[in-house]
């Protein structure tokens, strides 16, 4: 077993175990912190796939942005000193059965399909190539995403403040 495989199994275990803890933990704040480990594991998997820029973006945006937003959401919407954070047990058994069947089907499809493998030559650093693609082939999507982010920002700010009139 090469070192690459070893690192992959490490990150895969980290990702899957912490994702399981996210969905099974009783405490919502703990869930949020397990989510940090999940995002970190996923970014390690990106590195193993040769996607260095995506991995760094994952850490910056997910851990530095989305996770902080979620934590703010948790702390603004539930009384932390109050233990009774309703975690919910809505119909656990049917959900577990359904998800189990779905997971089995997905894994069996993924493992049995004969994928046509053809390794891409990934450059040592991808940011240069990604930047070139962003301002040539994908320039329209790039601009649209910028506008979308602006709209989302304005919309979120105005929606969150509406009550104060």
């Amino acid at each position: 077993m090469s070192i690459y495989d070893l690192i992959f199994y490490l990150f895969a275990t980290l990702t899957i175990v912490s994702a399981l803890m996210v969905v099974s933990s009783d405490n919502i704040v703990r869930s949020a912190f397990y989510l940090l480990a999940t995002f970190f594991g996923v970014s390690g998997i990106y590195v193993l796939l040769g996607a260095d820029f995506v991995a760094v973006t994952q850490i910056m945006v997910y851990i530095g942005g989305i996770l902080i937003l979620l934590l703010f959401g948790v702390m603004l919407t539930s009384n932390i000193t109050n233990v009774e954070i309703k975690k919910g047990t809505a119909k656990i058994l049917p959900a577990v059965i359904g998800i189990g069947v779905l997971l089995g089907a997905l894994v069996s499809v993924m493992t049995r399909t004969k994928w046509k493998l053809q390794l891409t030559e990934i450059p040592q650093t991808t940011s240069f190539e990604l930047g070139k693609l962003l301002i040539t082939d994908y320039v329209l999507i790039f601009e649209l995403l910028g506008i979308l982010l602006l709209i989302a920002l304005i919309g979120a700010a105005s929606m969150a403040r509406r009550e104060q009139e």
Binding site: L70, A156, A160
Partner: protein, 103 residues
Amino acid sequence: MIEVGLTHFLVVSSFLFAFGLYAILTRKNAILVLMGVELVLNAANINFVAFSRYGNLGLNGQLMALFVIVLAAAEAAIALAIVLNIYKTFGHVNVDEIDNLKE
């Protein structure tokens, strides 16, 4: 154990997807549902990047993953604003007890 290939990454993403879907289906707290959505988006992202590596598709898959990350950020901001409004209106964020858009 066999050498790590495309299948391994796809299996990891399947697990992430299933856990995310489980959170979306069973959790009552809206924030936990949001976390489930983030898990599902991450699973899709792993697939994009893995096929970009093993499918001879160049860097297009990685770009799609970047776009998904941007959309996830926008989605989280909007969803949090909605959740805050729900909290102001109802005093809680349990999605199974919310049956009105306003009081």
